[in-house]
């Protein structure tokens, strides 16, 4: 407890962008059980505090590794690229496309239109995930960072799309 292992070690996974999600899920649940506050009901205050810290760390590690964006940013951080507020301005074509997608979503008036858009978004998301994996494994961390920046726009757009879609289905 309280060691300096990274999130991958903690959750028993190799340090890699590709993640075995079943194993991640399984190891997370095991650790969650192991450090559950109920098991420390009769422990000393110090042990309880440590278990609580560990439980929090496990949750953070799981959430980070379970997200394609979080996982990518964390891998870059492990390789010395700090997370900070960046502006993307070097790629107007990508941004024009992002703007066009958002305009399409605003104009979409049927579930069908939104599902088509979701399908395209999913393909786009998978494509950027594959690109990140490739650049990261080749040791091109700055290029990988540019890819993860783009993936963030796609993921954000996707979650907005899903909200709109469920609102439309329910109305």
């Amino acid at each position: 407890m309280g060691d300096q292992r990274n999130y991958f070690d903690l959750l028993g996974l190799p340090v890699d962008y590709k993640v075995d999600t079943q194993r991640l899920e399984l190891n997370f649940k095991k650790l969650q059980k192991q450090f559950h506050p109920d098991r420390y009901a009769t422990a000393t205050a110090g042990e309880q505090r440590l278990a609580m810290q560990m439980a929090t760390l496990i949750n953070t590690a799981y959430e980070t590794l379970n997200s394609p964006v979080g996982r990518g940013l964390y891998l870059l951080e492990l390789n010395g690229l700090a997370q900070e507020d960046r502006t993307l301005k070097s790629d107007p074509d990508f941004l024009f496309e992002q703007m066009a997608w958002r305009e399409k979503l605003s104009a979409a008036s049927s579930v069908k239109q939104m599902q088509d858009l979701l399908e395209k978004t999913d393909l786009n998301k998978e494509d950027f995930e594959a690109q990140f994996d490739q650049q990261f494994n080749a040791g091109n961390f700055l290029e990988a960072q540019q890819v993860i920046d783009k993936l963030q726009f796609v993921v954000k757009f996707r979650s907005e799309l899903l909200v709109r879609l469920s609102t439309m289905k329910n109305s």
């Binding site: 993307l88 992002q98 963030q152 726009f153 954000k156």
Partner: protein
Amino acid sequence: MSYSDKVMDHYENPRNVGSMDVEDNHVGTGMVGAPACGDVMRLQIKVNDAGVIEDAKFKTYGCGSAIASSSLLTEWVKGKTLDEAQEIKNTEIAEELALPPVKIHCSVLAEDAIKAAISDLKEKQR
């Protein structure tokens, strides 16, 4: 988090929303985005032959602060020369809108957008 009155005003009544012809030689287009929040901002300026900004338009998909920052900027740049517009600092925008520290990057985005629009225009007119 609550927005300041000025942010709310720009958010509810954004000024100069729209677009101009990207191909027009008198129009400069700045496209920027903030990966962390997924905001996308397009800022366009139109200059006359004397190099003065006659018109400005924006379209922003993002939070209230990002919309307000770009809306305010389009008001500010009208009537300015390119050199004057180039000098606008994000801190002036943040101060005018009373942006809280976590929203400062929205004003940075707006500054980046006007700089990108100016350099796009200069590139075109060279």
